[in-house]
């Protein structure tokens, strides 16, 4: 058996890591969310629920939260619409090129997030690649303004960035479907389309739920894409949190919003896990 000292040496570092980087910050955030800021711009340690009241009663906060969720929902839908067919193609149709294509899907993840977001800025801007092209082709006379600094730009960029995250769990789920089930379906007279709807899709639902959860949660908390490409109408809740912790110097309110976001995300993860379990059969 292992000695006591050995066990302690192995256990202590991860425990310390969790306490220092997870438990303490969350506890601090929890406490801050019940404090307030005085007129003299100092944080007063008086316990009250005022911050949560502000969240409910000041329109801008809950409206931004709703808009963020709506953006995240659209990103989720588009990521699924792109990621699922891609995963299906790779898993069932790519044959020998499977590994190469898989790497091609993964490679963008190695490129800095900022670079990818900036790339869209140069594409969508009024002097950007897309507008120049459209004008050159005489599709439009004036540059299209809605392309950049709009929720559209945010959704587009986030979809581009988070599609691989939706793709991966779907691909894993599809790869796990025994090919003999597909053969059995054909054997019983089902065409490829019938086989997809009756066998492949139901068996890949857990992967799709996981992928959707990734896309939604990651884009809900995103603040760089709206900051770079969102403009005033594309602001998301995380941008508000950033400013509350920064220039506005209202850490208590920022903490309250963060805590609400955290609860939202945790309950979402909880439900998606329940759903995945309900749909898994092996």
């Amino acid at each position: 058996m292992f000695s006591r000292a050995y066990k302690a040496a192995v256990t202590l570092p991860p425990v310390l890591w969790v306490v220092i980087f997870l438990v303490t910050p969350y506890a601090l955030m929890f406490c801050y969310s019940f404090w307030s800021v005085s007129a003299a711009q100092t944080i007063v340690h008086s316990w009250n629920l005022a911050n949560y009241g502000v969240l409910l009663h000041v329109d801008v906060y809950w409206q931004t939260l709703l808009r963020s969720m709506w953006i995240a929902a659209r990103v989720t839908i588009f990521s699924l619409l792109l990621g699922y067919p891609l995963a299906y193609f790779l898993s069932f149709r790519a044959g020998g090129k499977k590994d190469l294509l898989y790497q091609l899907v993964i490679i963008p993840l190695w490129v800095s997030y900022l670079v990818r977001a900036y790339a869209w800025k140069t594409i969508l801007g009024s002097d950007g690649v897309l507008n120049t092209l459209l004008q050159y082709a005489h599709v439009t006379k004036h540059p299209l303004e809605f392309l950049l600094y709009s929720p559209f730009a945010v959704v587009l960029t986030l979809t581009h960035i988070y599609t691989p995250f939706a793709f991966l769990p779907i691909y894993a789920a599809l790869e796990h479907i025994p090919r003999s089930l597909v053969e059995a379906s054909h054997d019983l007279g089902a065409s490829p389309a019938q086989t997809f709807w009756k066998v492949i899709l139901p068996l890949s639902i857990p992967g799709a739920i996981a992928g959707a959860t990734f896309a939604f949660v990651l884009s809900l908390g995103d603040f760089l894409a709206p900051l770079l490409l969102g403009g005033p109408s594309g602001i998301m809740i995380s941008n508000i949190v950033v400013s509350l912790f920064g220039a506005a110097y209202n850490w208590p309110l920022g903490a309250a919003i963060s805590l609400c976001m955290l609860m939202l995300v945790v309950s979402l993860l909880f439900f998606s896990e329940r759903l995945e379990k309900k749909w898994s059969f092996s």
Binding site: S180, E183, A184, D187, L188, Q194, L203, F281, S282
Partner: protein
């Protein structure tokens, strides 16, 4: 036809005997049935790896044909070509007037029972069985009655609402069978369906499966590597080796009259005797007997149960006799297999009723008609 042999022909201590070669009584013929499936010169290669070489095979209506072979013999590939999961590199597969190999698997009136059953995990037993009928858009009332009938037939009615993961391997096996049979295919393909079951259940399922096949009257092509299973169940066995058919015959025929050395060794135990024929006399080491085979080298298969242990005094002139020393005895219940080192370096395996005492010096005898000439099997690729 009778002829005699004199001692001495080509070997010193030869025993003399008189024998006649009677053709083996041909095994009961299948009722002359029409051909259902015809595999014509089907070949398959994966890259440079040749898996099947010009296989031609016919399956009659209502026949239970077993494709028997070791792993890597190509038996599953052949089955998959018939089912449509694999494309033949050359050759054709016909079912009646239809060219089967040009149709996708979902158009063929062939159903398969897969080795791992391949039941849909997200559907109940009942939904699994209904799958083919639902896909074919049969009316729901018909589906319900046919499912009930199929589940009844395989004794799984009680588990209709269970998910496949909640039932045992043997039960999954039955469901897979029901799921295939409910579609009333003309031909059922079974890919080692019993290999995942334990020995007792396996024997029971062999009997049930055979009875079920008789009852429904559908042709079965059954793939297995288990020669005993093949013998018990089949009307005919197609013995496959390295992508080539060694012999296609009834179990009795293939056992009694193996065509090749491989067939003789793979189906049951056998002694292979290498010999020479010279002007009507066979010489296998120290053994000789007469034969009307043409001169030249020859290979005989001699089943262990066709060799008798003689008491020293017995004198049976028609038998080939040889003296030997027992080197091993393996108890098999009613019988035992005795390995005997004979004069002249020959080793014979003898099947005899289990004896109570260990044996030492024995006198062996066999009738020359039991020594079946077989062709030497081709070298392995």
């Amino acid at each position: 036809m009778g002829h005699f042999v004199t001692a001495g022909g080509c070997s010193n201590s030869a025993k003399s005997m008189i024998t006649s070669e009677i053709p083996m009584a041909s095994a009961p013929e299948l009722k002359s049935r029409t051909t259902l499936l015809s595999v014509r010169k089907v070949a398959k290669q994966f890259g440079k790896n040749v898996v099947l070489k010009e296989i031609s095979l016919e399956v009659a209506e209502g026949e239970f044909l077993t494709i028997l072979g070791e792993s890597g013999s190509g038996k599953t590939t052949l089955l998959r070509i018939i089912a449509g999961f694999e494309k033949a590199s050359a050759g054709e597969v016909w079912m009646g007037e239809d060219r089967l190999d040009l149709q996708p698997p979902y158009r063929r009136r062939v159903n398969t029972v897969f080795q791992n059953y391949a039941l849909f995990p997200h559907l109940t037993v009942e939904q699994n069985v209904a799958y083919g009928l639902r896909v074919a858009k049969r009316p729901e009332s018909e589906i319900a009655s046919r499912i009930a009938e199929a589940l009844e037939k395989v004794k799984m009615s009680a588990h209709a609402k269970s998910k496949p993961s909640k039932i045992s391997g043997g039960q999954q096996q039955r469901v897979a069978l029901a799921r295939a049979l409910v579609n009333r295919p003309r031909l059922l393909l079974l890919d080692e369906p019993l290999s995942a079951l334990d020995a007792n259940l396996r024997r029971q399922m062999q009997v049930e499966l055979k009875a079920l096949q008789r009852e429904v009257g559908i042709s079965f092509i059954f793939v297995t590597h288990d020669q005993e299973e093949a013998m018990v169940m089949s009307d005919r066995i197609a013995l496959l080796r390295s992508g080539e058919l060694e012999q296609v015959a009834t179990p009795r025929e293939i056992y009694g009259r193996p065509a090749t050395a491989y067939a003789a060794q793979f189906i049951g135990h056998t002694n292979l005797l290498k010999g020479d024929v010279k002007s009507g006399v066979v010489c296998c080491g120290d053994l000789t007997w007469t034969s009307d085979r043409p001169d030249g080298p020859v290979l005989f298969s001699l089943r262990p149960e066709n060799i008798r242990l003689l008491s020293q005094t017995a004198s049976l002139p028609t038998l080939v006799r040889v003296q030997g020393k027992v080197v091993a005895q393996a108890f098999h219940g009613a019988t035992e297999l005795i390995r005997v080192q004979c004069a002249g370096g020959l080793v014979l395996v003898v099947r005899a009723p289990a004896s109570t005492s260990p044996l030492d010096e024995v006198l062996l005898a066999f009738s020359p008609i039991d020594a079946i000439p077989v062709t030497k099997s081709a070298e392995r690729i």
